[in-house]
């Protein structure tokens, strides 16, 4: 079992040793690290291909359609066709655009997306680097994407782009706070910011012990990824295509790819933080990791197949009036439990109980706050025929 589990780690060791035979050690290390970086980018690109196809397939099936199925068996070559089409398109820079900013924005976006992959632990020993501030690094890098979008919106000289960019700044900054607070809860419990350490500490997945924290993180993450119902940025029915209205060809592809890079990275982070990363019985670690990522991504697709878009002011209200307080309460509960009860199964049970209490209190408060409007609405729904 261990052979399969550590297959890639051993392979890396073997290559380093072989290279060290005719290169100085530092050079061998450098070559191997470079190779690992390349593999990480390739994983990202493969993820883009699989996700674009999978999303269209899943949503197509949910809509009683086949989804793409013309190019290759079951349409598996569709992403290739997409790529060729996109790359051969004309690159248009609108009149009055800020040329350099317009050019740099998609590059920033994709660089920010790729950099996250450096610290993702795909399996036992399978990571680019094990930074001891891994999760902080991710949060810091992910914010770069916001700047790229703002650059794109500003430089396009288009009102739709500008409005899209306004929304992004408001949305991403708002949702970073509940997201960070949820991460802090996890870090508090683990006592480490290293992604690897977080996984190693999770004998019971945090999803089970802290469902409320997971819930807040899931909502905030889908807002950070601008997935439905928070896909305010593109908002195709009102803002045409949001900040990348004026982008075409290669530049558009970069934005598009960065979105799917981020989707995969975010599902990997969720897997790491809440689903115990690569840990799982029988199968090798990396299989478990990708399986868990797949489940998270499928959930996002499923939601996308039925969810209308939330309005921008409701969106901000949700972040500031609901998620941030809830995340703070979660943080407090986690901190208290962590301080009062020693690590172990008792702590897990108490944590779960505390989370359930929080959930019940939240639902009760919501019911109390919306009792008037709710009865009115229910009346209208039930009196429908």
């Amino acid at each position: 079992m261990d052979v399969l589990n550590l297959l890639f780690v051993n392979l890396r060791e073997a290559i380093t040793t072989w290279l060290a035979g005719f290169l100085p050690m530092w050079a061998a290390e450098a070559v191997v690290h470079f190779g690992v970086g390349l593999i990480l980018v390739v994983i990202g690109l493969l993820a883009v291909m699989v996700l674009t196809l999978g999303e269209r397939k899943v949503i197509g099936r949910a809509q009683d359609r086949y989804g793409p199925n013309r190019w290759g068996p079951w349409g598996i070559l569709t992403p290739v066709a997409d790529a060729i089409k996109m790359l051969t398109k004309e690159d248009i820079v609108p009149e009055g655009a800020d040329y350099w900013v317009h050019l740099l924005a998609p590059m920033c976006a994709i660089i920010a997306a790729v950099l996250i992959y450096a610290v993702l632990p795909f399996g036992e020993g399978m990571w680019g680097t094990d930074l001891n501030i891994g999760i902080l690094y991710i949060v810091a890098i992910a914010s770069l994407g916001t700047i790229a979008i703002l650059m794109a919106g500003w430089s396009s000289n288009n009102k739709y782009s500008l409005l899209g960019a306004f929304r992004v700044v408001a949305q991403l900054i708002s949702y970073e706070i509940p997201m960070l607070l949820s991460i802090v809860a996890v870090v508090l419990l683990t006592g480490s910011m290293s992604m690897v350490e977080i996984v190693r500490q999770q004998s019971v997945p945090h999803l089970i012990t802290m469902p409320m924290v997971f819930f807040v993180y899931l909502l905030a993450a889908s807002a950070e990824l601008y997935r439905t119902p928070f896909d305010m940025i593109e908002a195709d029915s009102e803002l045409v295509a949001g900040f990348f209205t004026e982008y075409s060809g290669m530049k558009f592809v970069m934005f598009f790819m960065s979105e799917y890079f981020n989707l995969f990275a975010m599902s990997a982070i969720i897997t790491t933080l809440f689903l115990a990363g690569w840990r799982g019985p029988i199968l090798p670690g990396y299989v478990w990791f990708f399986f868990k990522c797949g489940v998270v991504i499928f959930f996002y697709w499923w939601v996308r197949s039925m969810m209308p878009r939330i309005r921008i002011d409701h969106l901000l209200n949700l972040a500031w009036k609901f998620l941030v307080p809830l995340a703070l309460v979660n943080l407090m509960v986690v901190g208290l439990v962590d301080k009062l009860i020693a690590d172990g199964i008792v702590q897990d049970v108490v944590l779960l109980a505390a989370n359930i209490v929080v959930a019940i209190v939240v639902i009760g408060l919501l019911a109390f706050a919306s009792r008037k409007t709710r009865s009115k609405r229910l009346q209208r729904i039930t009196a429908r025929r």
Binding site: R61, A62, D64, R65, Y66, W302, M306, M307, A367
Partner: protein, 165 residues
């Protein structure tokens, strides 16, 4: 409330997702997809083609007399007058019952497929065919008598309006 509506929505799309792998309303011999069956209902167009109903209104065709094999059109011009969109131009020679069509121009690019010309024809000489793949690379979409007769021969029809009784 509290996400129950969202759960119901997820349930609906999830059900459709699963059903799409189980059932298929697809084409069976000669009938359109059955509405009452669940599952996918896409028609894979170039490979699968829907059967046409007898009344389908496609491009115009000219009919031949069953016995003599001559075109039944007498170039009377009723179809020209009935057409709302100047699609048809016709020319003929002879007088009275012996009048025969010599030229018939059917401008496909202008045709509305409204079937008013067929309704106007008292000789049951023209009918709408089931031709619907009419896109063409050549800009010349004015069809002559030979082509219209060839379509009529293809369908082997000699009387117009059979399906409309």
């Amino acid at each position: 409330m509290f996400g129950l509506g969202i759960v119901k929505g997820l349930w609906t799309t999830g059900k459709h997702f699963v059903q799409s792998y189980l059932g298929h309303t697809g084409l069976r011999e000669g009938i359109r997809p059955d509405p009452t069956l669940g599952g996918l209902f896409t028609v894979q167009y170039p490979e699968e083609k829907l059967p046409m109903f007898p009344r389908f209104r496609g491009a115009l065709m000219h009919l031949r007399d069953a016995e003599t094999g001559e075109p039944k059109c007498t170039a009377c011009g009723l179809c020209v007058r009935a057409c709302p969109n100047d699609v048809i131009a016709v020319d003929g020679e002879g007088k009275g019952r012996d009048r025969k069509v010599t030229a018939y121009h059917y401008n496909l690019a202008r045709c509305l497929f409204c079937r008013l010309c067929v309704e106007a024809c008292t000789f049951s000489a023209i009918e709408m065919s089931h031709e619907y793949e009419l896109a063409s690379y050549s800009p010349d979409l004015v069809w002559g008598l030979e082509k219209l007769l060839a379509i009529g021969d293809k369908y082997g029809v000699h009387e117009a309006g059979k399906a409309w009784e």
